[in-house]
Subunit: 204 residues, 2 copies
């Protein structure tokens, strides 16, 4: 191989690809309920975001950003979750509000993935920007898994709520998409089956 974008020679390509496939196939979503300390350390978090930065990015506009939520900000986040629930359901019980609040306390590493959908030059279509965000998120999930952590995405109606948008100081063109949760897996769980190829692959 003479290509400078390649990391490998033909000789070890089959090893590298076998390991890459193993990594991808063995990754599964882990609910934050099953994530505990320790989470990634500073160097590992740096690597997670370097992985994100290597996502494809049509037009080089970086149509996404990530906001980490350190442990010190979890109480605030929990209050935003509870407030969001109160705003969409005035009859929410105290138990429901507490449960919403506790969701902020789970995974050791927590970051919000934000799509930047405002004007850009070049003006890349929203769907393509989201492909870039999905790729960046996948790189983070794969890296976390490669490090031996469990990771999972969470979202819900809270993503569009005013308390959340205010806490994260989102611009009008910013869209909160999902939280990335990373930590040590407490207990295993059966993994979900993957879609069969014939269900999503065809040809002209």
């Amino acid at each position: 191989m003479t290509d400078n974008t390649s990391h490998t020679t033909n000789d070890d390509a089959s090893d590298v690809s076998a390991q890459a496939l193993r990594l991808m196939l063995s990754r599964h979503n882990v609910s934050p309920k099953r994530l505990t300390e320790p989470g990634p350390d500073v160097a590992q978090i740096q690597a997670l975001f370097e992985a994100a930065a290597s996502a494809p990015d049509h037009g080089e506009i970086t149509p996404w950003r990530f906001v980490q939520v350190p442990i010190t900000a979890r109480i605030q986040l929990g209050e935003a979750f509870a407030q969001a629930l109160r705003e969409r359901d005035a009859k929410a019980t105290l138990e429901q509000l507490q449960s919403a609040q506790e969701k902020a306390l789970r995974a050791p590493f927590l970051a919000l993935a934000v799509a930047r959908l405002g004007p850009a030059d070049p003006d890349i279509a929203t769907l393509e920007r989201m492909v870039s965000l999905g790729a960046a998120v996948q790189n983070i999930l794969l890296m976390a898994h490669a490090m031996g952590f469990g990771a999972g995405l969470t979202s819900g109606q809270t993503m569009n709520s005013i308390p959340l948008r205010e806490l994260f100081e989102l611009d009008p063109d910013d869209q909160a998409v999902c939280f990335i949760n990373i930590g040590t897996v407490t207990k295993p769980k059966p993994v979900r089956p993957r879609p069969i190829l014939s269900e999503f692959v065809s040809h002209l």
Copy 2:
């Protein structure tokens, strides 16, 4: 590790993560102009789609599919590209039409990534479906790179054109997002710099 979602012990986690990061950082978009034969064989294509199938998928709705364009269908695709150009620019020259047509002939492996944005149960938001598509596409790109191939995404105004939608028999709720091009890299090219972490990472 006792977690059955993990592929590794703590002992080799740092090797696995170092290799995963190398793979991600060394992957760069390769234009189809610089892709030639050979492309992936049948077993490799199977592995590419298995990688795609392991993307996160909130609600397990498989909000995407891929349509391969074999060499035998490239003339047809080229005609759709030319027709799409003609429809948006009645003054397109013969050279421009030929150039549009030739774009269909480049990479040995070519597949259209299609987002399925119609009704689903559960009804996952479009942005989240696109995260899943982006993750599936990223797995394909990383696998192709791990196999020693070059790969790149292409898109443009043609994606929304009637000739393309008709050729691929897209449902009204289907959205053509991008083509995935894979092949052997003919000549190296300087790689683009990645965004600096401080440009897209912050914390509460």
